[in-house]
């Protein structure tokens, strides 16, 4: 068997995400490619959490509704998810907590027997699962040692006892001859991409699903050479980032919709003052607080049009960890090349899912911005042909650097003169030409599946994973723009021109990409929208697409 899907479920506080990650690592170590999906409500203990680990010989970036194995740490898990089981599937369950068919093991009994803590039930479950999968004990041992931080020996004993309690292996997962890849979440990929592009300061206020960028960078400050700051609010975050950029530091902020709303005033300041800043917006279901730990692609229109007045902005929308890595690097370099705010638009599904990560770190480098040559009197807003004024920073012994939220002359002094106003507005907007050229050097629209097909699944962001597999199964084509502002019209036209039927697929209720495109004459024939706060799965989407094309 070259592919397997495992669901692990229990209560919040049972360590479900961690158990799922350990299982992912196990399968990763024996050469599988992983996609890891985590589903949890907004609470700290109790409720119902589950993770789905899908492992395959080939690269995958989506999960399925159906699974081969359910690991049930509680009754809820068995009941809620039983119907997902494939024909050959089985449930591995805590026999004290659950009464069902399958392999029942009294995990708590094992833990108690070895004087473990209640949370170590998940260690027992991992041990048992490893045996069910026929993974050799030394592999399990190694992974446990690498991933567990406290009481390694105790955990190992628990895992081993559970391993032994399972008689025979039900699914023999063969070891593959592939190099293991790092397992990286979307948020981690964003963090790492920014670091590669020269990130100096990450400034953020916690907000699901963006918080992990802050946590990750804070935990690795010294490994990665980055300073992290957690200020009093998102407004402070945004202004600190602008202040830092003014002083010459590559700064980035991250948040979700509600926090971003609070940054829109500062965003407009970045537009007027020409501040290079990277914004990470990790979407979650709104409006407002909405459903904070689930997913939605609901903020595209808002982000694209945010900020009062007219100014240049870039919005990039990665759909997997590698794209998150590359596009964040690109966002940073574009911000500093054009002195504009740039965005990476993620969502819970991308940010918190975990991927086998094959990106090449060397493909991102911090590109040096245009620096003032020291000649004459420095003018921050020098009106140049391409609109880009060379940079100098406070502390430069030859330059006086004046930046401002007001309309201004080249030196940065306030102006109310009509000609000056029009000229400066033109200077700033003129950068768009260079920006478009620069973007054109990058892949802006991706195509997957059957390139010859006249039926196109048009998607963006985290929805791509499910789309690609569905398209592969049905022989369709997938078109995924990576750049959502400025829209890459020509590549899109090329990708879509010979389509007979374009099916827009989005995780929102109104089809926001479709609306964006409609302004440029792209007609979408059908929409498949999901807005119950859950992402598309491969099999779920397959049914819907079949309905449309049948």
């Amino acid at each position: 068997m070259k592919e397997i899907s495992i669901l692990i479920g229990g209560k919040a506080g049972d360590g479900i995400r961690q158990a799922g990650q350990t299982v992912s690592t196990l399968l990763n170590r024996i050469g599988y490619r992983i996609f890891f999906y985590d589903d949890y409500p907004s609470l700290i203990r109790g409720g119902h959490n589950f993770s789905i680990i899908r492992a395959s010989e080939k690269r995958i970036i989506a999960h399925k509704d159906s699974v081969d194995i359910i690991v049930a740490l509680n009754k809820d898990t068995a009941e809620k998810h039983k119907s997902r089981l494939n024909a050959e599937g089985m449930i591995l369950y805590d026999s004290k907590a659950v009464d069902t068919e399958g392999v029942g093991i009294d995990f708590m009994q094992i833990v108690k027997q070895l004087d473990g803590l209640p949370i170590m039930r998940n260690t027992a479950a991992i041990g048992a699962l490893a045996k069910v999968l026929g993974i050799e004990w030394p592999v399990v041992e190694r992974v446990m040692k690498d991933t567990i931080e406290k009481q390694v020996a105790l955990n190992l004993n628990i895992a081993q006892l559970a391993y032994e309690k399972v008689g025979t292996s039900r699914f023999v997962i063969e070891k593959l001859d592939q190099k293991s890849l790092p397992l990286v979440s979307g948020n981690e990929a964003i963090a790492l991409g920014a670091v590669r592009a020269g990130l100096n300061m990450y400034i953020a206020y916690p907000m699901t699903p963006a918080s992990a960028i802050l946590h990750y960078l804070a935990a690795h400050e010294d490994d990665l050479g980055v300073v992290t700051v957690h200020p009093e609010s998102e407004i402070a975050v945004a202004l600190m980032a602008l202040g830092a950029a003014y002083a010459g530091a590559r700064s980035m902020v991250g948040t979700s919709g509600g926090g971003f709303a609070l940054m829109t005033e500062a965003l407009s300041l970045a537009g007027q003052g020409e501040f290079p800043v990277v914004f990470i917006e990790c979407q979650r279901p709104g409006p407002s607080t909405g459903v904070p730990t689930y997913t939605m692609q609901g903020d595209l229109s808002f982000v694209v049009h945010a900020g009062h007045g007219e100014f240049l902005k870039v919005v990039l929308a990665p759909g997997d960890a590698e794209e998150a890595f590359y596009l964040t690097g690109l966002a940073m370099n574009l911000a500093w090349k054009f002195h504009i705010p740039t965005f990476v638009l993620s969502d819970k599904h991308l940010s918190e899912s975990i991927f086998s990560f094959a990106a090449d770190p060397d493909k991102i480098k911090p590109e040096p911005p245009l620096i003032w040559d020291g000649q004459g009197k420095y003018k921050r807003y020098l009106d140049t042909q391409d609109g880009i004024s060379p940079l100098a920073f406070p502390g430069d012994p030859a330059a006086t650097v004046k930046v401002t939220s007001y309309e201004h002359d080249e030196y940065g002094i306030t102006t109310e003169d009509p000609d000056q106003i029009a000229r400066m507005q033109e200077k700033r907007l003129r950068k768009k030409e260079g920006l478009i050229d620069e973007l054109a050097k990058n892949e802006q629209v991706k195509i997957y599946g059957n390139r010859e097909s006249k039926t196109v699944l048009l998607c963006w962001g985290s929805t791509k994973g499910a789309c690609i597999e569905v398209a592969e199964q049905l022989g369709l084509k997938v078109v995924q723009p990576l750049v959502l502002k400025p829209l890459p019209i020509d590549p899109l036209r090329q990708a879509l021109s010979d389509a007979d039927m374009i099916i827009g697929i989005e995780v929102n209720a109104t089809g926001q990409l479709a609306k964006l495109l409609s302004g440029h004459g792209f007609g979408i024939d059908h929409m498949i929208l999901r807005y119950d706060a859950r992402p598309f799965t491969v099999d779920g989407l397959l049914d819907k697409v079949k309905e449309v094309i049948s």
Binding site: L192, A236, Y246, A247, A249, F357, T400, V401
Partner: protein, 286 residues
């Protein structure tokens, strides 16, 4: 020699004749000129302002400046200072700016004791938006949004700043320019968050010049132990931005404690950091 004149820009000054802002401008220029003459490179100064009459000051001083937005001077300053702690960062805000729209940032700057100098042009009115009441206007103040009189009691920013953890808390008066210069200089020299509330008459919308002239009195470290928090709070209570006969001006409170940038940065200077190789970190993800 750097004269205050040399720190001027070509911008046309648009404050009303008689405005208290002129004295603040004169003072800051003088202090900067002195610093320069003592060998300090003024290119290491970064000034930040909010929006309002006060904020125009950055157009009139020829140093690095960030003319920011209403209420957000402290986080802009914080970003600059954290990115490059070698810079001397000075902020100017109005009372609407600092005590209204953005008072949360003021409190956090004090709490963190970040090494900034923050000068409030407190005319107790919104000047640039033509005369509404502000957080320090007296109760009953008749402004354009409160023709029947302000329904609120004023804040006492001196008390608020001491309560929030500022390590340098002073009040000046634009009519006492010599002392004002001394206060600004002391604030810049102080390592930590330095706050000066400057009583600044708004000639057009709230002319308090005579009110202050008759009431302010300067005090010094000889009469008041600025390191004594209880004494500082008591002194702050002498005048609560209402009526009153005597208004103390001087340094209410000054102590030393670790600064935010010291603790947070641990010696690192973000603008000089270069990114590290991510491979060792990625290894741990396998």
């Amino acid at each position: 020699m750097t004269t205050p004149k040399k720190i001027e820009t070509y911008a046309v000054n648009t404050w009303c004749p008689g405005c208290g802002n002129f004295s603040i401008l004169t003072s800051i220029r003088k202090v900067l000129a002195n610093l320069s003459n003592e060998g300090f490179d003024l290119h290491r100064v970064a000034m930040v302002s909010g929006i309002g009459c006060h904020a125009k000051i950055v157009d009139y001083v020829d140093v690095n400046t960030f003319y920011s937005i209403h209420g957000r001077v402290p986080p802009a300053m914080t970003g600059i200072k954290l990115a490059n702690p070698d810079l001397t960062v000075i902020g100017h805000s109005g009372d609407g700016d600092a005590y209204g729209e953005g008072v949360e940032h003021l409190i956090f700057s004090a709490k963190r004791n970040i090494d900034l100098t923050y000068i409030i042009h407190n005319n107790r009115v919104y000047g640039l938006t033509t005369g509404q009441f502000t957080p320090t206007s007296p109760t009953g103040f008749k402004g354009r949004s409160t023709p029947m009189g302000s329904p609120e009691e004023p804040l006492n920013p001196i008390e608020l700043m001491i309560a929030s953890g500022a390590t340098f808390v002073a009040r000046g008066f634009s009519g006492k320019i010599k002392q004002l210069q001394d206060l600004i200089r002391a604030a810049i020299d102080h390592k930590g968050f330095s706050f000066i509330d400057v009583l600044q008459p708004c000639y057009t919308f709230y002319d308090t010049y005579n009110f202050y002239r008759e009431r302010v009195y300067e005090f010094t470290g000889q009469e008041h132990d600025a390191s004594d928090r209880t004494a500082a709070l008591a002194k702050a209570g002498e005048w609560a931005y209402r009526e009153g006969e005597r208004i103390p001006i001087g340094i209410f409170y000054q102590v030393e404690r670790a600064t935010y940038e010291e603790t947070l940065l641990r010696g690192r200077i973000p603008v000089k950091l270069s990114p590290k190789d991510i491979r060792p970190v990625l290894e741990k993800h396998i």
